[in-house]
Amino acid sequence: MANFYRDNKDIENVIDALDLTEVATLLEEDFKFAKEYDFAPKDAADAIDNYKRAIDLCGDIMANRIAPLAEETDLVGNTLNEDGSVTRAPGMKLAIELFGRTGLMGVTIPYYLGGLNMPCTVLTACNDIVSRGDAGLMNLFGLQGIAETINWFADEEIKKEYVPKLVSGEWTGAMVLTEPDAGSDLQSVKTSAYQDKDGVWRVNGVKRFITNGCGEVLLVLARTEPEFSDGRGLSCLLVEKGPWVKVRRLENKLGIHGSPTCEMVFTEAPAKLIGLRKRGLITYVMALMNGARMGIAAQGTGIGEAAYRAARDYAASRKQFGVTIDTFPALRELMSTMSVELQASRALTYYAAKNVDLETGLGRKFESLKGTPEAQTVRARFKKAAAFNKMLTPMAKYYGSEMSMRNAQGAIAVLGGSGFMKDYPCERYLRDSRITTIYEGTSQLQVVAAIAGVTGGLVNDVIADILGEGWSANHPRMTALLAALDEAIAYIKGREDAKVYHDLSARKLVDAAIALVVAALFVKLAEKYDYKKAALEFWLNMEFPRVKAGLEQVMSGYAGSAVDFETLAPAVPQES
């Protein structure tokens, strides 16, 4: 039977090269759960075997049950009924049922709440595979972040009430953040919540662009402290589906049609506070968002995979001028670029996911060791992983989502006129990919999030983490690019208009940093797998000069788009 994991050795290879032994040991807390649960792993090899079986199961369901419905799902979408209920697209309904049975809707959730207690790396691989089959499904499958957030921050009683039902697929959830006037700027959320005379929280307001707002468990960002007009006044509240929430509109979108995007009105909706007041945006939503960004990085990777396969497959059989078109050098370069960038995205995203797991696992271990001599060592490593993640998560989201668009464009280019037609799925890949650079923070915002680590010198630390200290002696091209990056950073800091020029240049710096991190990951993979040697060579010869050109632009000092903006991009004349 077809299987999106077994037919794609890259997924297993990247996971093997990451070596999840330490992650498994941390998350299983030295395999203590095996005493309590007869299915919990006894050692790291057992756990890693389980991880692969979970991804394999996901690959089976996607290849055989869900991907065949993707075209119909795209066509039919979801329907808002007169009574305010939403009828799901056929593939989505089936997927929730099937995945609910498997336990894969709770990959990272602890055993006692019905989950599999597996790493974010496994969830990431599943998201990659899910998105290859139907990108829109990832938005529902990836909503396990709702259960995660409840698990991390809510009271025990709330956890036990909601998490198991989210894991079983009986309920689905939504993160209810965006409003008509609060998109990227969530600090300006207006939806309010107050405690009535009985002490019950009540939520009022309008939310927009809410993925799966028709779900049963809604985590709402609302202003509980009217005296604060910024992020400090926001809390996270759980609202159950009911007559107090009305879905008044389903958005008519360019892509990801399987995912229902709702406009919702809350009227005196009873709610439960998650965690502490005032921490809604600052702590909880940021955590939720980071997880969601990992999900989008994987979604981009999966769409990029689907697009690459469509292109490569077509080119191998399409004949023009008497030969198959995969013999033409220009198309060979295009498809090689697609393939290598796809591999880059996967390597970067899974590596970032492993760091998320280390942060989670080391954080837990530190808590359990508090007061012992070992605690400080663990804490230092925890802090390092956390610092890495602040840079790597947005990098992966930025790179993966941008790559998915490039690959989708590339697939249409390879298929030519056929790719423009609805007979092939390439146009769907392009439509589906387009949202990935926008939601959970636009590419520009990912750059803003990643740049502090880049200018703070973290790139060298990350490479050292991958290749070991002293790596530069063996990798002159990487050393040279890192030197060029450092030079550009120093140059920006020395300028009078440092603030503006820093923002203008940030993307180019992040591009160079990503090129370096990916190169290190490719070096590591090439030690184990021969096909990665070619990918590494391609990367050093094709991607390094490209990002170097960006650094040269930075060094040129040209700031035209900032200072000559009105001339370069004149305002559009308004009708009088």
């Binding site: 039977m1 199961l57 089976d60 336990g103």
Partner: protein, 288 residues
Amino acid sequence: MNAKTKGREGGYRCVVCIKQVPDTKKVTGEAMKADGTINRAALPAIFNPEDRNALEAALRVKEMYGGTVTAIAMGLPAACAILREALMCGADEAYLVTDRKAAGSDTLATSYILSCAVKKFNPDMVFCGRQAIDGDTAQTGPQIAEKLDFAAITYLEGLEMDGDFAIATRDIGTGIETDRVKLPALFTVTEKFGELRPFDMRRVMKYKKAKAPVENGGAPLEGDLAIGQLSCDDIGAEADRCGFAGSPTNVNKIVSVVLAGGDYKEVEATDEGVKGLVEELVADHTIG
């Protein structure tokens, strides 16, 4: 299946007979040996497709009405792979019927051996796939029913329970027949019944470690990780009715037929021409 009807207290004891078969969709030039028998090494071994539907039928009965599901596979120790899969999907217990004496069994001997094994579990309902993709006989299920003196319902597409009765819908080719059948009964199931549910990942994590004694140096594993193992003696099967001794079927010759276009015949595009063509096709049983 929806529980509009009622079951009975204690639910139903279901046995599912499953078979490991070579994946005939992946037939290559090496699929057949020179002597005409299947080269099993050249083909991946899989869970017979319609046996998956049979397992799903049993699991749905258990889910809706309660009871237990026991999976039985007859074959070589390698067949434990599909027994583990059955456990991962939700079967309560699994048994391997394996014995050198069973080697070479045709459908008569196979159904005899399986009927002896099934009898041990005293089931209310037995589920089999309609047919296995390696032999395509569709004989084993009904023959088991005959030996157990159970009602046989073939081509099952839907099932509800009503106390000691099953209400079964079956495909009879020209339509759908609904039967009310008193238990115990045997059902052969087609793909129209519905696909086998995916594995429950927690059961995968557990039952990947399940083994039969033959896979474990002869010693049974402890607890519910043990796959039961039954020999012909264990199930009281008489030696002369098992294996080659109990199989009257002799394969005389196997020919590999490659279908290809050959001669063609032109038919006039008139009513008479088409009529003549149809009559000819009916006469040689191509249609009708």
